[in-house]
């Protein structure tokens, strides 16, 4: 519908502008001119080396899109379990802790973090790690992203739960993201369903980025503290804004750790070039034997 599109376009344009500015600034600040020059020279080979990881991520993102929309149908097909009451019983009104410190400024800060900070956090490392001469960390990052979506999605299908804003709207009225900035609902509606809460993928992706920032702190020493502050802010924002339960956030952190560790094990294990070479080798051998 056109009118919804208008709101969506506005929100999206704003997001693109803000994130682009933040990217340009941080590339200048953290990556530096030298690396950029180097990258322009070497981008072809780096891209080729990373093509499988990029391909996998694109496939996962596509799958992600389909599954999130058909989620309710798939969920009932695989026997998804309703867990809202379990979460709510377990932690009760824990996240209202953040309500007690709520101020208008904090609400603004966390809303901005949730929308802009998070998007920036996802994109910046992609650029920054592509600019490193060793493409392994770049491939690991993309692999961790892919794993994160794959595992996160599977959990979304298995666990059907609504977030705090849907369960206790009255106590969250002050800080709830969509009450304060309803226009964002058009954005998040595009990418999410209200029962996609366990785990918090905002938290897990932000934590993945922070963990990678730790690994690469010798290359990007200034990015590491920034990433940590941002990641913590993103995790808190999901609870402050009433979107996630604390359980979702904890699960998000665990998921992040799993993805980072797995990415280390998986990346570099199979080299497509090697596979190709060995296959060719075998083929040639067979041909020779046949002769």
């Amino acid at each position: 519908m056109i009118p919804e599109g208008t709101i969506l376009t506005e929100v999206l344009t704003q997001l693109v502008v803000v994130v682009t500015i933040a990217l340009l600034l941080s590339i200048g600040l953290f990556v530096g001119r030298e690396r950029l020059v180097e990258t322009t020279a070497a981008w072809r080979s780096r891209f080729r080396a990373s093509a499988p990881a990029i391909g996998v991520l694109l496939v996962v993102l596509l799958l992600n899109r389909v599954v999130r929309w058909r989620g309710d149908q798939i969920s009932s097909a695989v026997g998804g379990i309703h867990m809202t009451e379990t979460f709510y019983r377990f932690e009760g009104e824990f996240i209202l802790l953040f309500q007690s410190i709520a101020t208008d400024e904090l609400t603004m800060y966390f809303s901005a973090i949730y929308i802009y900070g998070y998007t920036f956090m996802l994109v910046f490392p992609v650029v920054a790690y592509f600019a490193l001469s060793d493409s392994r960390i770049f491939r690991r990052l993309l692999t961790a992203y892919s794993l994160n979506y794959l595992l996160g999605l599977s959990l979304y299908l298995l666990v059907i739960a609504y977030g705090p804003r849907n369960v206790m709207p009255e106590v969250l009225e002050v800080t709830m993201l969509y009450d304060n900035s309803p226009q964002y609902q058009h954005l998040t509606r595009e990418v999410n369903r209200p029962t996609n809460v366990f785990p918090s993928l905002h938290t897990s992706l932000a934590a993945i980025v922070a963990m990678f920032a730790y690994t690469t702190r010798s290359s990007y020493p200034k990015w590491f503290p920034v990433a940590v502050v941002l990641a913590i802010s993103v995790a808190i924002s999901t609870m402050y804004l009433g979107i996630h339960w604390a359980i979702d956030v904890v699960a998000g952190l665990a998921l992040a750790a799993i993805c980072v560790v797995l990415s280390d094990h998986l990346v570099g294990r199979w080299s497509l070039t090697e596979l190709y070479e060995s296959a060719r080798h075998r083929l040639e051998e067979r041909r020779r034997n046949g002769e």
């Binding site: 519908m1 009118p3 919804e4 208008t6 709101i7 929309w69 309710d72 149908q73 969920s75 009932s76 097909a77 026997g79 998804g80 379990i81 309703h82 809202t84 009451e85 379990t86 709510y88 019983r89 609504y162 804003r165 849907n166 369960v167 206790m168 709207p169 009255e170 969509y178 009450d179 309803p182 226009q183 609902q185 058009h186 509606r189 209200p194 029962t195």
Partner: protein, 643 residues
Amino acid sequence: MNRNSTNPGDGVSRRSVLATAASGLALSTSGCIDRVGSVVGQDVTDRLALSITTVPADSDREAVRIARHLEANLEAVGADVSIDMRSPSEFLQTVLIDHDFDLYVGRHPGGFDPDFLYGALHSRYADERGWQNPFGFDETQPESLSGTPSPSRDLSETAPGGPSIDELLEEQRRTNTDDDRRDVIADLLEEVVEQKPFDPICFPEEYRVARTEHFGAWDVDDDGANDGHLPTRHGFLGLEPEPGVDQLRALITDTRPTRNLNPLSATIRDRGTIVNLLYDSLLTEHQGELVPWLAESVEWEDGSLHITLREECPFHDDDDDDEADRYVTAEDVAFTYEFLADTSYGEADTPSPAPRYRSQTSMIDDPSKDIVVEDFLEDDSYELRIDVATNIESVARRALTVPILPKHRWENQVESRTESAEAPQGEWGLVTMSNIPAIGSGPFRFEDSSQRESLTLERFEDHFTQDDDDLPDIDVESIQFGIDPGSTAVERVANDGADVTASMLSTHALKGRLEGDGEWLDDDETSETRWIGPRQSRMFYHVGFNTRAAAFGDSSVRRLVSQLLDKSWIIDDVFGNRAKPIAAPLSDEWVPDTLAMDEDDEEPVTPFFGSDGELDVDAARDAFEDAGFRHDEQGWLLRNDDT
């Protein structure tokens, strides 16, 4: 159960099978701990455990708040309570079809005449699936299924010889004068309030918001001449668009119509506003009355309705070559009622009544005998007679509000899917699937939809309103229903992103925008955005009890739980006073003084234990103990097994 494997609808019906399986799984992991406990043995715990089913705040913020209020107060008296949150369609599936709940908070569609209570409460529907008696209420069954005798004082006051709810429901259909009927209905309401299969909370005031810029219909000076039309068919006619405007952009908050337009689904429809645009019924509601619509005239005579249809009103599939199928005839009308009574059309071993419209058609005992098509030898007969089991005209006329379905379309559907002998009510493909072509004869026809995004209907040029000077015209070429999460709907209309909100707005959406009974948004006439309303809804918020569940087999427990609801606080705090609190689910004219809310909105029969939303915990606990419960040293509420 669903043997339509050769049909494209298979996906949907298989889904419903799987959903049933999944909900079975969910049941074993949630809710109803008391039942599990009683199976395992008495040593586990006999704490009263309840699960309150409701929808998320995105769908109905008010319902969630009522559920939370009830949850807090039930916990205060020592019960083990959880909230079972389901999406709107799953909520209705759980409550109406699966009956897998202890108690729920939601909106009841209500009805045009007090006779809607017949469908809502009659014990003959206790085992059916749909809006007919979802409570499983049946006085003919012993009060408590749990084997816990009720020492309640109130219960003994219910004279065993007094007429039962079933008897009163029958009697109100057979009285001779209006005054008699009023008396019977007063008795009925008193009995309903006493038995409490459900506790009605309030009728919300319906508000919508409309932009006056493009449509003259809403740009009226004399206090809203068009107020109250919107959820009805007339609300979408005679809109008086400005030159150059050919589309009405309406917002709905519910995505279900974009996914499924099956008119018979109990879980997808609420009031059926959009279905009413696609299908015609014989009568339609206009300004609080049922007026002729597809019927040219309806004569009432000694328990029979003599109906003359408008002639040559085509169905939407009029491109078909077969001329005989083009017009809505008496045959289609007769088919509709027979089909609603048994959607397997005689093919299944047991009849499968439609899960919707059951109440509306309950006064037609046997459609195959009681509906007589006149001149049936003619190809197109436009006259028929319906014999009804009532001598009240207003009751009989309720039957004429159901959508008339094209026989040639649905008959084929039935034949193609009743290979097996079973068609479980409310669950089999025909009444759940989304790919039934939305072919009716209504003023608009289906054009296009995009799941969860929008639904577009286009004007049906051959509709009878176009030729009838007494009826308003369909003066837009199309209606586009867009989805809005609700919170931005008012803003979108104000910014010319839409013309009107077709769904009623939640109280939350009005907050800060509507002062008193202001006419304009933010009291600002230059906004060109005005309120439509308040219109007192016929839907009412209520707490429904599953009387099949051990906990609620006993009316004294249901009454006690009702006393944990502070209706006056709910009206004030949850609805911002934009709702009318009730003890009985009918409009004032039918409610006896004994059941009227007093000036402080205090409940006359089951008053709240406490005030201003604050529960008097001791009083409430004492009352539960008087009713045969006890508390252990942890303060848990236990059933008393000694008695």
